[in-house]
């Protein structure tokens, strides 16, 4: 019997170590260790053996059973490792690609810039407001200290709906709406679409986007304006920029200022973009005109403020070196999907 067990062990050893697949290993397992397996049968019949043989055969049988089970597991691991090693050898051409590429969605670069600016100003405690495109003549002009006979009201500059309504020519009327609703002190920005009666070319559009800002508080000065402008412009342009102010005329501010930034392309050395001046004209700003404050019942002797406004297209065009303003509303996805 002992002899027989030893033979079984040897045969099993050979079969297992020569086995090349998980399937044959399972078959071998069933053959020896299964419910009706060779070894199982022997062990089941130990009770019929002579009493002196029982412990020897029983012990040896169980040892062999464990031996076979371990060997199967060992071989199984070997086979698996071999597979892994083979899988490691597989090669793929990483320069090839999917045959049906996924389309991706893109925001218009104007929108992306607007949101970037909103985030910067929100961090400085500015609300974000919007207003209607079809605006009362009163809010678009009169309230902003633009007198009845000012050229800006001409048919040459403004789209008129009727004698009391226009397509807003700037986001500034929303200043009036904000000042009528919010109690000073406050800070607010107004991004949005505006309209000018103007023929379209590479640098002019009849429809474009502005971002307007307003800060009303006690004792607001030009030095605060400079600080705030420098802070937000450095943030949006990701560069520590220098700003320069010069007189400019806008009826709703006094003093009125034109703001220029140090050229982001040449660091003031002079290049074609800054027309070799080292500075780029970017926006208008100033201290809110007392007549505008009076119009919305804010006492200019108590409160003062600054306002600023800029064209978003200009900033996007500078940032991305876009050479034609017509792309923004042109509806060409080959433009939009670049951003």
């Amino acid at each position: 019997m002992e002899e027989k067990l030893r033979t079984i062990k040897e045969e099993a050893h050979t079969e297992i170590t020569q086995s090349q697949s998980e399937t044959t290993l399972r078959e071998i397992e069933i053959k020896y260790l299964g419910r009706n397996g060779i070894l199982t049968s022997i062990l089941r019949n130990v009770k019929d053996l002579k009493p002196e043989d029982k412990p020897i055969v029983g012990k040896l049988g169980n040892e062999i059973k464990i031996y076979i089970a371990n060997l199967i597991e060992e071989q199984s691991k070997k086979l698996q490792n071999k597979k892994f090693a083979e899988q490691e050898k597989e090669w793929i051409d990483i320069s090839a690609y999917t045959l049906e590429p996924k389309i991706t969605g893109h925001l218009n670069p104007l929108t992306s810039l607007q949101y970037e600016l909103e985030d910067i100003f929100k961090n400085m405690g500015f609300h974000v407001w919007e207003g209607p495109y079809l605006e009362k003549e009163e809010y678009n002009f009169t309230a902003l200290n633009i007198p009845q006979d000012h050229p800006a009201r001409d048919m040459q500059d403004t789209f008129w709906i009727d004698k009391n309504h226009v397509l807003r020519t700037h986001t500034s009327p929303v200043q009036i709406r904000a000042m009528q609703s919010l109690k000073p002190p406050f800070r607010v920005i107004v991004p949005g679409r505006v309209f000018r009666y103007e023929a379209t070319d590479a640098s002019h559009e009849n429809t474009f986007y502005q971002l307007e800002g307003l800060m009303i508080d006690k004792n607001i000065s030009i030095s605060h304006l400079i600080y705030t402008m420098k802070t937000f412009l450095s943030a949006i342009l990701h560069k520590d920029i220098e700003i320069r102010l010069r007189p400019g005329y806008f009826p709703f501010v006094e003093p009125g200022l034109e703001l220029e930034i140090s050229c982001i392309f040449c660091d003031k050395k002079g290049c074609s973009i800054c027309k070799h001046g080292g500075f780029i004209e970017l926006m208008g700003c100033g201290l809110v005109h007392p007549d505008v404050l009076k119009y919305v019942n804010i006492d200019p002797e108590v409160f003062s403020g600054f306002a600023f406004g800029m064209g978003l297209e200009r900033l996007v065009m500078l940032k991305h070196r876009i050479n034609d303003i017509r792309y923004f509303l042109g509806g060409d996805l080959r433009f939009v999907t670049q951003f």
Binding site: E130, D162, I220, G248, L333
Partner: protein, 800 residues
């Protein structure tokens, strides 16, 4: 406006280079856009000469062969011009002369004849900017052999001022105004322009004239002077050069002098030929309806009642402040002139100029509200200058001066701490006072306040309140000297209106999660699209002044403009997913409605639009996009059959987007006939959502549902039903079998085809059973399965 650097120097002694001047003026006064350089190298190779004889060039029809006397020698010159006559005096560039743009003159053979130099045009010499007819003919009194540079300085720098930056500054529309600013900036003396000359007629030279101002509101001041013994000539070269470099064409001595003073003082004037004025009467009045005038530019114009005119007894002789008339034009035969120097109301001039679409150097200035004191000053300067050129001319009247102008004395009290607070810089009372005085303000002070009296040239509209004074001090002091300072402000969390936040969230989801790209289109709708989309024009908002008659209305929907964008993009990509979120407009009775709308469009340009199987799967994909959007927004929506489907959509493959009782919008497949009108190929789906309605909905409150403790079990059923049976209906019936245990019912497969009847479809559902209290036993699961099968069969549906 253009400024001559050398001219400015005649008024102020400053040392700044043209580039430095450009910089400092831009920083403190007005934007200088550019500096033009006029440079004539002084050499003695260009001299005056007289043409003695002109012969035809034997070998060239267009050339002449001239014999020219320089005073010291006689030279032969080949010349290509046509305007020269024998006896004319001209400029001759000799062998070795170098003209502007490095044009070297050499002795040479032209078509077989020797030429010893060149007869020059004004442009070739760099004196005149404009190409005048042929070579420059000099005054007959000019001596021979005189070198060009002895005629004057023909080099200069011209500064281009951005007109927009001086619209509010009537005092800056002439050189003298800028000179005043330069003097203030550098603390230098400004040359006085007061003429010491008495403007009185000499007894034997009195010419009669009556002036009547009928509309004193439009013409508050009218000054005039008559000059006799005028001899019209061509202006001296220095004057021509100056006018030319500043953008004016030289015409004759009188016109050139009036233009020169316009450029000097900013005051427009006009010269009439005295003898062409009928009955020696000038009337300033409103035009009569349909009266006509031929203006100096040769155009016949029909006047309206709102136009102010200068007239003699019968006819208008000038459109006031805009342009003179042909019938009283000064010409070679003129011997006496009336110099008009008036003050017109800015609005009247602007309206007239707009009416004729005629913006002249004169109207541009009158529009700005000029200093009324300039009228007589300009007459004095014109007379002074004209008499140095036309020495025999004589004053033939006293100065007429019909004035209703009252001297405005504007005095403004400005506390110095007001200035400091506005600028944000500690600036002393003395500094402020000094700056203002340099700008010709009169200033008195107390210990802490400036009492500023405003000069007349700044008081017309520019300077009115103390903030205006802050600007004067600030700009001359230098805005760029102000240190940036962080404002001390109360801290608060910005609150944005819901519309603002929602718009941003939606745009972000559409672009980043659902892969739609944002397209922006104009706010106008094409007339063509109004018809194609069967929109009722009565419900549209119309522009009074459209840019084009193709686009007269504001868009009532985003869809038509977006559809226009599809064909050109489809050329480059087969699958388009686009959106726009913008305002749309409509008219309701007398009122305008404006609200924000969201539009989404998907187009598969290569998909066969008649392939119904693809159509339905693409429809469901689009529907899923809308549902995903709503899900992320936490707004509960349901897709329901539209009782009145949107007319642009397929009548069956469309639905409305509901939230509770609110209709948020519509979506579906674009009708093929409309697609065809827009030249759109393939299959297209569109959706519109009213943002106003969306923003008024409250978001769903999300409460946590405990995760299941016990395993769930799935059952599958394939049901054959009629084609028109709704999936929603089957789901509802299955759910009703056991609300407690059925956790989810979901469609997993769908089949229509040859294995089924023509009006049949098969739908497979996965039903998930889940108990909150135990692991379900096989028997329990079986029981539910049996009831579901029974229930479905009761509906007359077969199971597969």
């Amino acid at each position: 406006m253009l400024l001559s650097y050398n001219w400015l120097k005649e008024f102020v002694d400053f040392t700044a280079s043209p580039e430095e001047l450009k910089k400092i003026l831009t920083e403190k006064v007005a934007e200088v856009e550019n500096v033009r350089v006029y440079k004539l190298d002084i050499n003695d190779k260009v001299i005056t000469a007289q043409i003695q004889k002109i012969e035809r060039h034997p070998n060239a029809d267009k050339l002449t062969y001239c014999t020219v006397d320089t005073g010291s020698e006689t030279l032969k010159i080949v010349c290509g011009a046509k305007n020269h006559r024998e006896g004319d005096k001209v400029f001759l560039a000799l062998d070795g002369a170098v003209l502007p743009e490095n044009f070297k003159i050499k002795k040479t053979i032209i078509r077989g004849l020797e030429s010893n130099g060149m007869l020059c045009s004004g442009k070739e010499l760099g004196i005149l900017d404009e190409e005048t007819e042929g070579i420059m003919i000099l005054d007959s009194q000019t001596p021979l052999g005189k070198k060009l540079y002895t005629f004057g300085n023909f080099s200069d720098y011209v500064l281009e001022i951005d007109n927009k930056s001086i619209t509010h500054r009537p005092d800056l529309w002439g050189h003298y105004g800028f000179a005043r600013e330069i003097a203030a900036i550098y603390g230098k003396e400004l040359k006085k322009l007061d003429s010491s000359k008495q403007l009185k007629s000499s007894a034997h030279h009195e010419l009669p004239l009556t002036i009547r101002v009928e509309n004193a509101e439009a013409c508050p001041r009218y000054s005039a002077l008559i000059l006799d013994n005028i001899h019209i000539t061509s202006s001296p070269l220095w004057l021509k050069f100056r006018l030319n470099t500043l953008g004016f064409r030289a015409i004759n001595s009188v016109v050139d002098v009036t233009n020169y003073i316009l450029l000097e003082l900013g005051q427009p004037t006009h010269a009439f030929d005295y003898h062409k004025i009928k009955d020696t009467t000038i009337v300033i009045r409103d035009a009569k309806e349909n009266e006509t005038i031929e203006t100096l530019d040769g155009t016949k114009r029909t006047l309206a009642k709102t136009n102010l005119v200068i007239a003699h007894n019968t006819h208008p002789i000038a459109i006031a402040g805009v342009m003179g008339g042909k019938i009283t034009e000064v010409d070679k035969a003129t011997t006496a002139i009336i110099i008009e120097s008036a003050h017109f109301h800015p609005t009247s001039i602007r309206k007239t100029s707009t009416h004729f679409e005629l913006r002249t150097e004169s109207s541009m200035r009158f529009e700005k509200a000029l200093d009324p004191n300039l009228t007589t000053q300009a007459i004095a300067r014109i007379t002074e200058l004209l008499q140095t050129i036309d020495t025999n001319s004589a004053i033939a009247s006293n100065v007429f001066d019909i004035s209703r102008v009252q001297d405005k004395h504007v005095t403004i009290h400005v506390p110095i701490d007001f200035v400091q607070k506005k600028i944000g810089s500690v600036l002393s009372l003395e500094t402020a006072q000094e700056i203002l005085e340099r700008l010709d303000f009169k200033v008195e002070t107390t210990k802490d306040t400036l009492m500023v009296s405003v000069p007349s040239f700044r008081a017309t509209k520019d300077i009115r309140i103390k903030e205006d004074i802050v600007e004067e001090i600030g700009r001359i002091y230098g805005y760029n000297k102000i240190e940036p300072q962080a404002p001390l402000v109360p801290m608060y969390i910005p609150q944005n209106p819901r519309g603002v936040t929602l718009t941003r969230t939606i745009k972000t989801i559409l672009a980043t999660t659902l892969h739609y790209s944002e397209i922006l289109t104009h706010s106008f709708i094409k007339n063509k699209n109004i018809d194609v989309c069967s929109i009722n024009k009565d419900e549209l908002v119309k522009l009074q002044n459209p840019l084009s008659h193709e686009e007269e209305y504001l868009k009532p929907s985003l869809i038509p403009n977006l559809l226009d964008m599809i064909p050109k993009n489809a050329k480059h990509m087969h699958e388009l997913k686009i959106f726009e979120l913008c305002n749309v407009f409509s008219k309701q009775g007398m009122n305008h409605d404006e609200h924000t709308e969201l539009a989404m469009i998907v187009n598969y340009s290569t998909v066969d639009p008649f392939d119904s199987k693809t159509s339905s799967s693409l429809f469901y994909a689009f529907k899923e996009d809308i549902e995903t959007l709503a899900h992320i927004l936490k707004i509960p929506v349901s897709i329901e059959e539209a009782s009145k489907p949107l007319k642009w959509l397929h009548s069956k493959k469309s639905a409305c987007i509901m939230s509770g009782e609110t209709t948020l919008g519509y979506f579906g497949e674009l009708s093929l006939s409309l697609a065809q009108q827009f030249d759109i190929r393939g299959m297209t789906f569109i959706a519109t959502i009213n943002m106003e309605k969306l923003k008024n909905l409250s978001t769903a409150q999300k409460n946590f549902i405990s995760l299941p403790k016990y395993p769930s079990s799935d059952l599958e059923f394939s049901i054959v039903s009629s084609k028109t049976t709704k999936v929603q209906e089957i789901e509802k019936i299955i759910r009703a079998v056991n609300n407690e245990l059925i956790d989810n019912v979901r469609l997993i497969a769908h089949y229509e085809g040859t294995q089924l009847g023509e009006n049949e479809k098969s739908s497979s559902f996965k039903v998930t059973l889940q108990s909150q209290s135990k692991t379900l036993e096989d028997e329990e699961i079986k029981k539910v399965q049996t009831i579901i099968i029974q229930t479905l069969e009761q509906q007359g549906w077969k199971l597969r």
